[in-house]
Symmetry: C2
Subunit: 565 residues, 2 copies
C-alpha cells in the first residue's frame, strides 16, 4: 500500500517526504485531501496565501488497471467559494503517483507574481523542484508539449495555464490523458489559482514503468469488475457511444437544461448539440467516439472532437461544457462549443464557470447570446488578462456584481452545473448543501430514479447519494461506475479487501463518509459560512421556469435536516 506523503514549501523551496500517519492510511482521494486541509489550513486564511495548502491525492484504489479507479483528487481552501474544495479528475497522474507509492502531495508556501515559475518533478528517485519560467504565460497545450519533449512521453502532467498564473478564482488544474493532451481538469473552485499562488506551473510525474506485482485476488476483482461494467447497458455501451452528452436531450425533455442564463429549461436547438449529433459528427469526421481518460477504464465515456478537416480540437467534449458553453449562452453548434472548450483548456480556466459567467454577461447586455465569435473573443481575453478577462475569470458572481445583474445562478460563489434546480429538484439540494458549492458531482441527482419535478421525494435519495459519492471520490472510483458499484456494493468491498487488505463493509464506508462530510462542513463554518448560505439564490424560489412553470420548492425542512444523519 502507498505510504509516502511529499510535502513541498515553495516559499522556502524545501521538499520533505514522510510516511503517512497510521490514522490516515485508509484515507485516499477526497477523504484524504479534506482531512489534511481541515488539519492544516486555517479556515480564515486567504486562499492565495502561503498558509493555504494544495493537496493532491490519488484515490485509495488507484495504481492498477482496475477500471475507472484512477481518479485524482485535489483540494485546498477555494479562492472561488472561500470554503473547502475538492475537485477530482481522470487522466494519468493518479495512476502514476500511486505506482510511486505517493499517498498525497502537500504544497504550501507562496511565490510572488514575478518570481520564476517552478516545476515539481516526481520520479522513483523522489521529488525535486526545478525552474520552469520559460513556460510563463504559455497555454497548457504548448506547455504540455514542451514538458513531454523534455521529460518523456510517459510523464504524466498536472499543470496550469495563464489563468492559474494570474491566480484567477476559476482557474483549473489540467491533467494529461493517456495521449498527453492536457484536457482532464480539476475544474472547479479555482485550484489552479492556488497552484499559481504557490508558483508551480507544472507537476511532472514519471513512474518509469514501475509495475507492482498483483495478487491473483486483485487480478480477479479487476477482471470481474470490468466484466460487470461491460455487461451493464449504460456503462457497457451507452457511455461509449454517446459519452456524457447522452443526458442532454433527457435533461432538455425534463425542462431542466440551462438555457440563456438559466432563463428557460429547454433549448430550441437542443438536438443540434445532443448526443446523436455529437456521435454522428465524430463518426463522419473520423474523430474518436470513445476513449478512456484513465488507464484501465472500460467505460470509455470520453471522446476526441475533431473539426471538419479531421484535425484535433479537444478531448473530450462533455455534457456540462456542451450545455453551459452551449445552450446557456445560446450556442447551437458543437464546433463552436468545442472551440471554446479547447480555448478554456489552453488558458486553464473552468469551462463550466466560464459558461455561467458568459451567460450572466449576456444577460447584462455586454454581448449577445449566440454570438460565437464574440464568445470566443471574450474567453481569449481571460488568457490575455485584460480587465474584462480577469473579471470573467473571477466567476459569475463577480460578473453579476460588476454589471448589476441579479439573476446569478450560483451557490457559495460558484456557478451552477448544467441542471436547472427548479426542474431537477434533487440537484438543487446538491447545489445548496454540498460543502463544495453548486457542484453537481457531489451528488449527481440526475441519475436518481425519482420524479425530478416532485419536491417531496428528493431529500432522502440525494443525501444517500452524497454519502455514496464521497465514498467513490475517496476510493478514486469514477462516479460513472455507480451503475455497478452502487447497485452491487460487494464489488467495492472486494476491491478494498483485495487491493488494500481492508475488510470493510459498504455500510461502514457510508458511515465514514458521514464524518468526512461533517468535517468539511465544519471547515466551512469556521471559514464563515452559515446555514443561510446553504440555499439557492432567491430568484430560483420566485421566478418560474418554463416549460414546467416551476420554482425550487423542496421543503425547507428537508434542507434543514439534510445533515442530520
Amino acid at each position: 500500500m502507498n505510504r509516502s506523503i511529499i510535502e513541498i514549501d515553495t516559499t522556502a523551496r524545501t521538499i520533505s517526504t514522510s510516511e503517512i500517519p497510521e490514522n490516515q492510511r485508509l484515507l485516499g482521494g477526497r477523504a484524504l485531501t479534506s482531512a489534511l486541509i481541515c488539519a492544516e489550513v486555517p479556515p480564515t486564511c486567504h486562499s492565495l496565501s502561503g498558509e493555504n495548502v494544495l493537496v493532491a491525492a490519488p484515490g485509495l484504489l488507484a495504481g492498477t488497471a482496475l477500471s475507472s479507479a484512477n481518479r485524482l483528487s485535489a483540494g485546498a481552501k477555494s479562492p472561488l467559494t472561500g470554503g473547502i474544495k475538492e475537485s477530482n479528475s481522470g487522466g494519468v497522474v493518479a495512476h502514476k503517483l500511486a505506482r510511486l507509492g505517493v499517498k498525497a502531495l502537500k504544497i504550501r508556501g507562496r511565490r510572488r507574481p514575478g518570481d520564476p515559475l517552478l516545476g515539481l518533478h516526481i520520479t522513483t528517485r523522489g521529488a525535486s523542484l526545478l525552474e520552469l519560467d520559460h513556460l510563463r504565460g504559455k497555454g497548457t497545450y504548448e506547455s504540455a508539449r514542451l514538458l513531454r519533449e523534455r521529460f518523456g512521453e510517459k510523464a504524466g502532467l498536472m499543470l496550469i495555464g495563464p489563468a492559474g498564473e494570474m491566480r484567477l478564482a476559476t482557474a483549473c488544474i489540467n491533467i494529461t490523458d493517456p495521449e498527453g493532451e492536457p484536457c482532464r481538469n480539476l475544474g472547479r473552485g479555482g485550484l489552479g489559482a492556488v497552484m499559481g499562488s504557490k508558483g508551480i506551473k507544472a507537476i511532472i510525474v514519471d513512474d518509469e514503468g514501475v509495475s507492482p506485482a498483483l495478487t491473483p485476488e486483485v487480478r480477479e476483482v479487476i477482471r470481474r469488475f470490468s466484466k460487470a461494467l461491460k455487461e451493464h447497458p449504460v456503462t457497457g455501451e451507452k457511455f461509449a457511444r454517446y459519452g456524457t452528452t447522452m443526458t442532454l436531450l433527457n435533461v432538455n425533455g425534463l425542462g431542466g437544461l440551462p438555457t440563456r442564463n438559466f432563463s428557460r429549461g429547454s433549448f430550441e436547438n437542443a438536438e443540434a448539440i445532443g448526443a446523436d449529433t455529437l456521435h454522428d459528427t465524430l463518426e463522419r469526421r473520423d474523430g474518436m467516439v470513445s476513449h478512456g481518460c484513465m488507464p484501465g477504464c472500460v467505460i470509455r465515456c470520453s471522446n476526441k472532437y475533431v473539426d471538419e478537416k479531421g484535425e484535433a480540437v479537444v478531448g473530450s467534449l462533455d455534457y456540462e461544457t456542451v450545455c453551459l458553453l452551449g445552450s446557456n449562452i445560446g450556442l447551437d453548434s458543437l464546433d463552436a462549443v468545442a472551440a471554446l472548450n479547447r480555448l478554456c483548456n489552453d488558458i486553464g480556466i473552468d469551462t463550466m464557470e466560464t459558461g455561467v459567467a458568459l451567460g450572466v454577461l449576456a444577460e447584462a447586455g455586454l454581448w449577445n447570446f449566440g454570438d460565437a465569435e464574440r464568445a470566443k473573443a471574450l474567453v481569449q481575453e481571460i488568457g490575455t488578462g485584460t480587465p474584462l478577462g480577469r473579471l470573467i475569470g473571477s466567476g459569475c458572481v463577480a460578473c453579476g456584481r460588476a454589471y448589476g445583474v441579479e439573476r446569478v445562478p450560483a451557490v457559495k460563489g460558484q456557478g451552477m452545473a448544467a441542471y436547472d434546480p427548479r426542474a431537477i429538484k434533487g440537484m438543487g439540494l446538491t447545489y445548496a448543501l454540498s460543502p463544495m458549492g453548486a457542484d453537481h458531482t457531489a451528488g449527481n441527482a440526475i441519475v436518481l430514479s425519482v420524479d425530478h419535478l416532485d419536491p417531496d421525494v428528493q431529500m432522502e435519495p440525494v443525501r444517500d447519494l452524497h454519502l455514496k459519492t464521497a465514498v467513490l471520490d475517496s476510493l478514486g472510483l469514477c462516479i460513472f461506475t455507480g451503475r455497478v458499484t452502487l447497485e452491487q456494493t460487494q464489488f467495492v468491498e472486494q476491491m478494498c479487501s483485495a487491493l488494500l487488505g481492508w475488510k470493510v463493509s459498504f455500510a461502514e464506508l457510508l458511515k465514514l463518509a458521514q464524518s468526512w462530510l461533517l468535517r468539511e462542513r465544519e471547515f466551512n463554518r469556521q471559514a464563515g459560512f452559515s446555514p443561510a448560505q446553504d440555499r439557492l439564490p432567491r430568484f430560483m424560489y420566485t421566478e418560474r421556469l418554463s416549460p414546467n412553470d416551476t420554482v425550487f420548492d423542496v421543503p425547507e425542512r428537508d434542507l434543514e435536516s439534510f445533515y442530520e444523519f
Copy 2:
C-alpha cells in the same frame, strides 16, 4: 411630530402615504431604517431586486435649527456587504423632509436598466413620480444644476450619478448641501446601486419654506446646545479651523495612517496632506475654510476646496478621503486628492472604497502608487463603465479577486476606513464587529482616550461607543457633537423632551440601542453571516505594521463577548 411614511413602488409606479405605526413613532434615522428593513426585506433577497427596500429617514430630531441634528439616514440590504446597511449624511434633505412631516421614504420595486429614469418629487402637496430620463448618464453636478434650474434653488436633492445607474456595488447617493452642491454622501455600502435598481435618478424635496413654530423650550435647548458646542475647544474651534483632517497627523503619529494599501502606518509626506496644509491652502486661495453642511450647524467642519485660480473644486475635502485617496495610494498633493474627490462625487461613487480599491490595484501592479494622472484616469473609467471601471466600482474585494491580491483590507466585503486597525486597535473592533462592515462611523474609536496600541483596553469603551453612536445616528445628531452630547448627556435628554415630548433618559436610549444593534445583527445572520466573518482579514493578524511593529492582537475573547451586553 412627523408622522407620515411615503411608500413608493417603482415597478408598479405607485405611491402611498400612511401614518407611521405607533410603535415606530419614536424611531428615526438608523433606528427606523433598520427597523423597516428588518421587518420588510427578505434577508436572502438580491440587493438589486425589487424585494429590497431603500429606506430614507431623517433623524428623530431633524427639522429645526438645532445644531448638527439634521442628518439623513438611508438603509437597505447592501449590494457590497450582502448585509444590512445604514449610511448617514449631512446636507439639506433631512431638514426639509422633517419639515414636510415625513418620517421615512420606503422605495421598493425594480426597473430594468433600459427603462426611463424616474424622479420622486416631494412637496407640501405630497409626492409624485416623474420622468428624468434626460439625466441618464449625467454626473451629479450637472444633474443637480439642471434639477435646481427646474425645481428651484430651494429644492434639496438626493441623487445618483452614472455609478448608481450602473448599479455598481460601491455607488453612493449624493445629497446637496446648502449651496446646492451634491457633495454630501450616503457613501458606503452601495446604496446608490439600490436607488439605481429602483430606477430613481433623483429625489427632489421642496419644503417650500414651511417653518413650524417652535416652543420656547425648543428655542432654549437650541440656544444652549449651540453655546455648549461653541464653547468646547474642538467643536467650537478646531473643527472649524481644520475640518476633519485635523486627525491626520495625529493618526500618522500613532502609526495608523493607511499608506500604500495598508502596507505602512505612516506616510513620509503626511504634512503635505495634513490639516495645516489644507487650512493654509484654503486661506491663501480664498477657499472656504469652514462651512456648515447642514442647516443650523455651528461646528462647521466642512470646507470648499478651490484650485490655484480660486475656482471651486469640491466641498468638502475630508479626512477619510484625504487618506484613502491620498497616502493610501501614495498621493501627497491635496490638489490631486481634491480632483479625485470631485470626480468620485460627480460619478456618484464612494471615495473611501475607491481609494481602497485603487490601493489594491496598485499593489497588483496595474498602476503605480503616486501616479495622480493614472489614478484620475482609472476613476474616470468608473464613470464610463469600462470593464476595469466596473471592477473598481465593485469594490476592493472584487479587485483583489480579479488581480490575485491577498492583502485586501476589508471586512464583510467592505474596504476599511482610514485607520489601520493594527495601530488603532479599537477601530479594529469596530471594523470587525459592526453589522455594517469595515465602517468607522459605527464606533469611531479614534476619539477614545485610550492607548490605541494597547490591545487589552479597547473592548469596553468601543462597545460603549457603538451604542452611543447608534443613539446619535437615530436622533440625527452628527457624531462630531459627541464631545458635548456624550459628555453632557442631559443635552440629549432635553432635546428629546423639548422637541418630541419624550421623557427618556440617556441610559434608556443606550438600552434601546442594544436592541437595535442586535436586530441588525440578526438580519445579517439570516442573510448568511456567521461569527467567523466578524473578524479582520488574516493578514492583519500576521503581517506586522511599521512603524510600531504591531499586529491586530485584541484578545479573541473580547471579540467573542462584544455583543453580550
